[in-house]
Symmetry: C2
Subunit: 223 residues, 2 copies
C-alpha cells in the first residue's frame, strides 16, 4: 500500500520511506467501501483530506428532481474533495460515491496542516493540487455559460488553436471522456457533436488531429 | 497604506508593524491603474499574488462574439486571482479590469511561497482564501447547470430552507447584487424573477424574510 502512495501528487518528490515516516507522525484512518456506496454526502462538512489508495470514485451533484450530474471521476492513487477543506462554508457540495470497491485513507485537517507547516515539498504539492482543481472548475464554469454542445466545442477548438499559433492542425488535448466531463454532457453526445462539426465543414479530423477549415463559421456559431 | 493592509484577509491576525516587516523582507511592486484600464489579461500567466489596496476591480470572461460576462467584483482591501497561482495551467482565464482608479500591490509567487513557509498564520489565511474562492466557483457551477433564473432561484431557496430547519422564514443571505453575480445574470433580472415567484404564490417576502408557501410547486419548477 505505501509504495502506491509514492505515485500520488500530494507526496510527489518524497521517497516511500519518508512517506511511511510522515504518516506515522500523524493520525490517519483507512476505510474500504463497496461499489455504489456513499463515501461522503454533499451536506457533510469537509474535515479531512481524502486519499484514494485503491479503486475509482465519482463526485456528483444531486438536484431536487433527482437528476444527478457527474462532476468528476477520480482514479487511485489520487486525493479528492481537498478544495473545500479550509473554507468557511466547507460543505462538500457533491456526493462522493465509490464506483468500484474503494480504499480511502483520511488525514484530519489539523494533522494535514501540521504536515504543510513542516514540509515545504508537501506544501508545494498541496498548493499545486488545489490550484489545478480551481482551474478545472473555472474552465468548466466557462463552458457551462454557453448552452449548446456545438458552441462549447467551437469555443474549445478556437481556444486550442490559439495555443498552437504556428500549427495548421493540433491534437484535441483531452480524451472524449475528459471533454464530456468538462462540458457536463455524455460521451456519445460529445462524439456526435464533434462529428457534426466535421460533417458541416467547420473542421477536419485526421488521426486525432483537428484542423480548422471555416474559422468564421465557428465564430458565427457563437451568436 | 500599511494600516489598510491589516484589514486584508491574507494578513488577518497580524499587527500593522509585523506586516510592514514582512513586506520589507520580500520584493513587491505597487502599480496604479486608471478606471477601465486592464490590470491583467485572461491569457496572462498568473505569476504573482495581487493585493488590491485601493479601488474596485472586476473579473470578466470574454467570448469570441464579444459578449463579456462579469465573473466577480473585488473591492479593496482584498486579494484577487490567487486561485491560479500554483496551477500547472496557470492562465488567468478572466480579464481583470479596474472599475475605479485602483492601486495594486503584487508579490511574486516565489516570494509568496517564502512567506507561506515561514509564517503559519499567513499559510492558514492563504488556504482559507483560496478554499473560499473554490467554494464560490463551485457554487456558481451548480447554478449554471440549470437554465432559467426561476429554476436557479428555486434551488437557492430550497437549499436555504435546509440551512434553517426550525424556522418558518429566513433571510436571503446575499444581496440581490451578490445573487445576480452567483447566477451570472443582471440584477434587474434577478429582482424580476424573485418577484414573479412571489406573484405566482410560491413564496412570500416580508421585510427581506422569505417564506416558502408552495414547496411542491417550487420542486415542480425543476422539471
Amino acid at each position: 500500500m505505501f509504495s502506491e502512495l509514492a505515485n500520488i501528487s500530494i507526496f510527489k518528490g518524497l521517497k516511500s520511506a519518508e512517506i511511511v515516516q510522515l504518516l506515522n507522525s500523524v493520525s490517519y484512518h483507512i476505510h474500504t467501501y463497496e461499489p455504489e456506496s456513499v463515501i461522503a454526502f454533499s451536506s457533510d462538512n469537509s474535515s479531512a483530506l481524502f486519499i484514494l489508495i485503491e479503486g475509482h470514485v465519482r463526485g456528483e451533484m444531486t438536484s431536487y428532481n433527482d437528476k444527478d450530474i457527474v462532476i468528476s471521476e477520480i482514479h487511485a492513487p489520487d486525493t479528492f474533495a481537498e478544495g473545500f477543506l479550509f473554507a468557511n462554508k466547507n460543505k462538500l457540495l457533491v456526493n462522493i460515491i465509490a464506483v468500484t470497491k474503494a480504499k480511502v485513507l483520511t488525514i484530519p485537517k489539523d494533522e494535514l496542516l501540521k504536515l504543510l507547516n513542516k514540509h515545504t515539498q508537501i506544501l508545494n504539492n498541496y498548493l499545486n493540487i488545489t490550484s489545478n482543481r480551481f482551474v478545472l472548475v473555472s474552465e468548466k464554469l466557462k463552458f457551462l455559460m454557453f448552452n449548446t454542445v456545438r458552441v462549447k466545442l467551437a469555443i474549445y477548438i478556437l481556444d486550442l488553436e490559439k495555443e498552437f499559433p504556428d500549427k495548421k492542425s493540433f491534437r484535441l488535448g483531452k480524451t472524449h471522456e475528459e471533454l464530456a466531463t468538462l462540458f457536463a454532457i455524455t460521451r456519445p453526445a460529445l462524439t456526435r457533436n464533434l462529428l457534426s462539426l466535421k460533417k458541416d465543414g467547420f473542421i477536419e479530423i485526421n488521426n486525432k488531429e483537428i484542423k480548422i477549415i471555416d474559422r468564421e463559421g465557428l465564430i458565427q456559431l457563437l451568436n
